[in-house]
Amino acid sequence: MRAGVFALCLLPFAWLVYSAATAGLGPDPAESIMHITGEWALRLLLLTLLTSPLRRWSGWPVVLKLRRMLGLYVFFYASVHLMSFCHFYIGWTVGALIEELAERPYITVGFAAWLLLLPLVVTSTRGMQRRLRRNWRRLHRLVYVVAVLACCHILWQARSDIGEPLIYILLFAILLAWRVKRFTARQKN
């Protein structure tokens, strides 16, 4: 099960590598690489947030075991996304990166989301989970901030058709609503 999901999550990246090697990305690989890595980072993030509700509904404990892997994949795709930006758009110059971060809010927001993933990745091991105890759960609530930032990032970069960003935002809103509902229900009891 875990090996299967691992392979599935790797597919978009494998497809990118294959297409890049066979010139299948067309005359402007930057565009498709940025698009595909960014989209998959967000999709996997939403999938990560789906694990808790899915376990509730299905009762399969195995679903929760996939959460860490999915989360790490989010970081993987977000990192390739950021690296592609540095490579294609600013040519690895620090000055240009600082200028982009200072002047373009959607890039600031995207970069902040990536930064907030770092502590989550570092504390993703079982050992860290044990050591941090209750604080681990508190820390990992940062994932909601990351999701909000990621949604802003994708909505902000849309030029004329906001259909796709709206779908992601709607899905995130549903996942969030489920948690809010559960939380308020627990408060009442």
Partner: protein, 332 residues
């Protein structure tokens, strides 16, 4: 004039053996495709760029080839391959993806076609496709094309000056601007049927009359010597090489001369991001990205081909005088 003459001879000529013909390009692509298929038969069909994307237009045109030297009509920069020009397009009427126009533009009927010319002209009327293709002296112009999204190409267009068309309809003394309109036929343009698109169709563009009458301003009917592929704006489109690509409106059905500045699509949608002038200007950034440099296509993984963007896309010598005394940071 004397300066121009000297320039004419300062540009090195390219030996004809160095220029790759379209058929050679296509053969090379076939070879690459065959190699790819042999290596991975299972995923061979999984390409972003379909067969349709590789079609590069139709009938051969009769035109005078571009030669080095005259006022910006020619560049010796490496031309972008025809397959790339035909597969990587912004034509939102067919979808916002770069590959969408190549996939879906064949659904647009381009024959019969006519352009209606109206407004401040002495002889308003219609131009039919036959009159457009055979009624003007066609010439080749090799222009740089700089998209507002910070990528660029070098394109060998075939067309005629817009001035020649406008003169035929005799603009009146009141004409100060020219407004253009793209075809809007929703059953043939799937992008215009999107409920989440915030563009108010039809697509509209405009120029000041002096910009429209400038010799660089071209009405293009072809690329690489053949009629335009639909996705590149068939059967007739505008090309204004010193402005961002979105000014070069595609598949034109109406031209109106006006006294007041026309409302244009992108300016209406996001006035802070897209101005009426939209002159290529590395000093004025788009609010969401830098305009200081561009990716000259084809760009590859290991060679992104990032080059510095030039003022007026390198056509300053020809057009800078049009904007004398204007603050281009404000009139962007």
């Amino acid at each position: 004039m004397g300066l121009n003459m000297r320039k004419r001879f300062s540009i090195p000529r390219i030996a004809s053996s160095e220029i790759t013909s379209e058929s050679a390009y296509l053969k090379r692509r076939d070879f690459i495709r065959a190699a790819g298929l042999a290596a991975a038969p299972v995923v061979g069909g999984l390409s972003l760029h379909s067969e349709a994307a590789k079609s590069t237009g139709g009938a051969a045109l009769d035109y005078v080839a571009a030669t080095p030297g005259v006022g910006g009509f020619y560049t010796d920069e490496k031309a972008t391959p025809p397959g790339d020009i035909a597969s990587y397009c912004n034509f939102y009427e067919f979808g916002t993806g770069k590959g969408d126009p190549a996939h879906y533009a064949h659904e647009m009927t381009v024959d019969p076609w006519s352009i209606e010319i109206s407004g401040a002209v002495h002889k308003p009327g219609k131009l039919h496709l036959e009159d457009i293709i055979s009624g003007f002296d066609l010439e080749e112009r090799i222009y740089r094309l700089r998209c507002v999204e910070a990528w660029s190409m070098v394109v060998p267009w075939v067309g005629f000056p817009l001035a020649a068309l406008l003169q035929r309809f005799e603009p009146t003394g009141k004409a100060r601007y020219v407004e253009f309109q793209t075809l809007h036929r929703s059953d043939e343009m799937r992008g215009t049927r999107s409920y989440t698109s915030i563009i108010d169709w039809p697509y509209r563009e405009g120029l000041r009359l002096d910009e429209a009458m400038h010799p660089l301003t071209l009405m293009s009917v072809g690329v690489y010597g053949k009629t335009l592929p639909n996705q590149n704006g068939a059967p007739v489109r505008l090309v204004v090489p010193w402005k961002y690509g979105f000014k070069s409106i595609k598949s034109i059905v109406a031209i109106r001369l006006t006294e007041t500045r026309p409302a244009t699509s992108w300016e209406t949608l996001a006035p802070r991001e897209y101005g009426f002038y939209a002159n290529v200007n590395p000093q004025v950034d788009h609010p969401r990205w830098s305009q200081k440099s561009e990716r000259r296509l084809p760009s590859t993984l290991f060679n992104p081909n990032r080059i510095a963007t030039r003022m007026f896309n390198g056509y300053g010598e020809q057009v800078a005088h049009l904007y004398q005394g204007m603050d281009l940071a404000k009139s962007y």
